[in-house]
């Protein structure tokens, strides 16, 4: 059977089975609708959706480079404004393009205040080029450029807090979401598009290939990240946190032991010192955002 797909993100793309970024792309287009222009930085999503001459996109789509995604989007926004047109502009980038290589242009576009939405699908490393660490890679994750071994426990630095950096630019709406909660992601895309000015959305996108789990577990892993407090879904309006997803927290081990990138923390026996450091990250998140649901005893 070869039917017509009704979505704006066509099937036949070359993402891995169970890819979270593909789920995010479908949901984002579902929320944005056909009057949208997508600017896409280099990265997994760009590569798997548009190997020339194929494209999965059914809306106008332009590939920039890693570094100038927001600059290209700024130009399109300025041109549309001059022409009096009403199309929405979404810039899409992975965490490498957003946290590291493109932050200069991203900061510039937010400071100038262009009316667009920047969406980062955060799979916590450079997956497309072979799992190198990025500024979004969490503490102790093993990647090809932060390999765990006798002298290393993996990535030595914590994850950069990019939403706060962009909120500090005076962005009217900054939010985090996860592919584990697609209707919530859709609502946040709609809200960001309806808000005037530069808005930022960071979507947690578990990567089965890079993190080392089976493709069918993508949503389950995303849920565990939230339930352990290692990822927090929140909304910030004009610099203030206005909504947070609350949870009954689980210990971080349940999230870590499901993934190959943290396997070294459990072999030959659980490394309690390192796990305690990761638990401290979750505890800090919980305290900062107030995510804990207090159960009545």
């Amino acid at each position: 059977m070869t039917g017509e797909s009704c979505g704006l993100f066509e099937y036949g793309h070359r993402a891995c089975g169970g890819c979270a970024a593909a789920m995010a792309a479908r949901t984002i287009l579902d929320a944005a609708g056909k009057d949208t222009i997508i600017v896409s930085a280099t990265g997994c999503m760009e590569v798997f959706s548009t190997p020339y001459p194929d494209t999965a996109w059914k809306v106008p789509w332009i590939h920039s480079l890693f570094e100038n995604n927001s600059a290209v989007a700024s130009g399109i926004v300025a041109s549309l404004k001059k022409q009096g047109r009403k199309e929405k502009v979404i810039a899409l980038g992975g965490d490498g393009a957003t946290f590291d290589i493109g932050i200069l242009c991203l900061s510039g576009a937010f400071e100038r205040g262009h009316d667009f939405v920047y969406i980062c699908y955060d799979n916590e490393a450079y997956m497309n080029t072979g799992i190198q660490r990025s500024g979004a890679t969490p503490y102790d994750a093993s990647t090809t450029t932060s390999p765990a071994g006798k002298c290393s426990m993996g990535n030595r630095r914590p994850k950069k807090d990019l939403p706060m950096i962009l909120a500090a630019h005076g962005a009217p709406y900054v939010a985090t979401a996860s592919v584990a909660y697609l209707p919530d992601l859709k609502k946040k895309v709609e809200k960001a598009l309806a808000t005037e000015g530069p808005c930022y959305l960071q979507v947690h996108a578990p990567c089965c290939t890079g993190w080392g789990f089976e493709g069918e577990k993508t949503m389950a892993i995303g849920k565990l990240a939230i339930e352990t407090g290692l990822w927090v879904n929140y909304e910030m309006e004009d610099g203030k946190v206005t909504r947070v997803k609350k949870v009954v927290r689980k210990p971080v081990e349940v999230y870590l032991k499901e993934q190959r990138r943290f396997r070294h923390l459990f072999k030959p026996k659980p490394n309690e010192t390192e796990i305690a450091k990761i638990q401290a990250v979750a505890d800090r998140n919980a305290e900062r955002f107030g995510i804990d649901i207090k159960l009545k005893k």
Binding site: S5, E10, G17, M23, T55, W57, V59, K217, M219
Partner: protein
């Protein structure tokens, strides 16, 4: 129209690439258990699960990569993954 600058592609042309050949496990939909909630269609990274006139999910096996997310997430356990026989 001739294009002067850069490269362009026909919208949605990726569809010519039938990714169903990647599949090792095939989702089998048990219609008697299905509650027609639509979650499988929502979570499918390919977006290749449609529905028939009765609202029952219908996968497009030309594109299904067999990742198993639909079976894992189905709240009614109405999808079974079976080894593909070719």
């Amino acid at each position: 129209m001739a294009l002067g600058l850069g490269c362009s592609a026909k919208p949605g042309r990726a569809k010519e690439n039938r990714t169903g050949s990647w599949r090792t496990f095939r989702p089998e939909f048990l219609h008697e258990k299905c509650t027609k909630c639509g979650l499988c269609s929502l979570v499918c990274p390919e977006g290749c699960i449609g529905e028939d006139a009765e609202g029952q999910p219908v996968p497009d096996y030309d594109y299904c990569k067999g990742c198993g997310l639909c079976a894992e997430e189905c709240p009614s356990q109405a999808i079974e993954m079976k080894k593909e026989e070719k």
